[in-house]
Amino acid sequence: MFCEKAIELIRELHRMSDGQLPAFNEDGLRQVLQEMEALYDQNQSDVNEAKAEGRSDLIASIKLRHCCLLRNQRCVTAYLYDRLLRIRALRWEYGSVLPANVRFHMCAEEVQWFSQYKKSLASFMRSLGGGEGLDITQDMKPPKSLYIEVRCLKDHGEFEIDDGTVILLKKNSQHFLPRWKCEQLIRQGVLEHVMS
């Protein structure tokens, strides 16, 4: 049956329901496009034959192949679109600089899309607060206090806070830090909010 490769692409994404971005399946995409080309060519030749020799019985098969073309198109479009939704979520979760291992999973066009999205978001944020700008990627959950107690989950090296003090983030060390500096690191899993 046709469109088996296309549905595999969809399954690949559906498996990662938490929003992770898998590697760009360039091979799979190419196979789907090849299948579409083959279907289209067969239909072209059948249409010409139907017109030239009045073979209206070919129309049923032409229609079937056309359905397959539409199906492949749907799967590919949904695949690419869902990946963009995941990449958009990355800006909100990881900030404007993506870790290298995530960037490897994106194709060139997706990297370009991400940088355009970053620019749009940045100019939008700059326009808020009466021209002063507002970072809406901070405080995504309403904060309960200005400073929070955090524990370091992995070695992250030196970390500078606003008053110039440099803190060394070593595994299992605990610190009392301003919430807005820590938010990004908490989302990345480097720090853990200690609530006691």
Binding site: I10, A60, S61, L64, C67, R71, R74, T77, L85
Partner: protein
């Protein structure tokens, strides 16, 4: 990764599918038993049972929902779709009697979705099918709601097998 920022396209409601919804695409991949009402020349290789070059009229085979929907015509000149077992009279009586005892996951992963899609094929039983789908959902809603509010924050696959 915190899932709050990833907002996938939701499945469609009722008989409507959302073009970009991954769930709807997987749902429409389900296979249905059909009977061809016309011949399909040069596509014999799709039907593995025979070696013929063409698919003759009157062949019984299985086609995915998306293809059945695409080829279906009101006057039934192209194919006719058989109702899967779960939506037929026998099972409908079971559902109407007590919707809570049925293992819906065993019936195929998309009971409500596929049932709603079956309404596209103009079966004379459509009003009864639609009614059963609705009543089953209403019947099971209370227990589903209760489980979701009171579940432990742990592996619930044992519970999910009854959904």
């Amino acid at each position: 990764m915190d899932t709050q920022s990833y907002l996938p396209v939701q499945p469609g409601v009722g008989m409507q599918e959302n073009f970009l919804s991954l769930d709807d695409i997987l749902l429409s991949h389900e296979r249905l038993p059909i009977r061809t009402e016309c011949a399909f020349p040069r596509l014999g290789y799709l039907e593995k049972a025979t070696d013929a070059q063409d698919i003759p009229q009157g062949t019984k085979m299985e086609l995915p929902l998306w293809l059945s929907k695409g080829l279906y015509e009101r006057k039934r000149r192209v194919l006719s779709v058989e109702l899967p077992k779960v939506y037929r009279e026998g099972w409908r009586t079971v559902f109407n009697a007590d919707p809570n005892v049925v293992d819906l996951h065993k019936m195929g992963p998309y009971y409500y979705g596929l049932g709603s899609q079956m309404l596209h094929f103009d079966s004379p039983e459509n009003p009864e099918i639609a009614q059963t789908l609705l009543q089953t959902f209403i019947g099971r809603f209370r227990r589903n709601m209760d489980s979701s509010q009171n579940a432990y924050n742990e592996d619930t696959s044992a519970l999910a097998s009854c959904q």
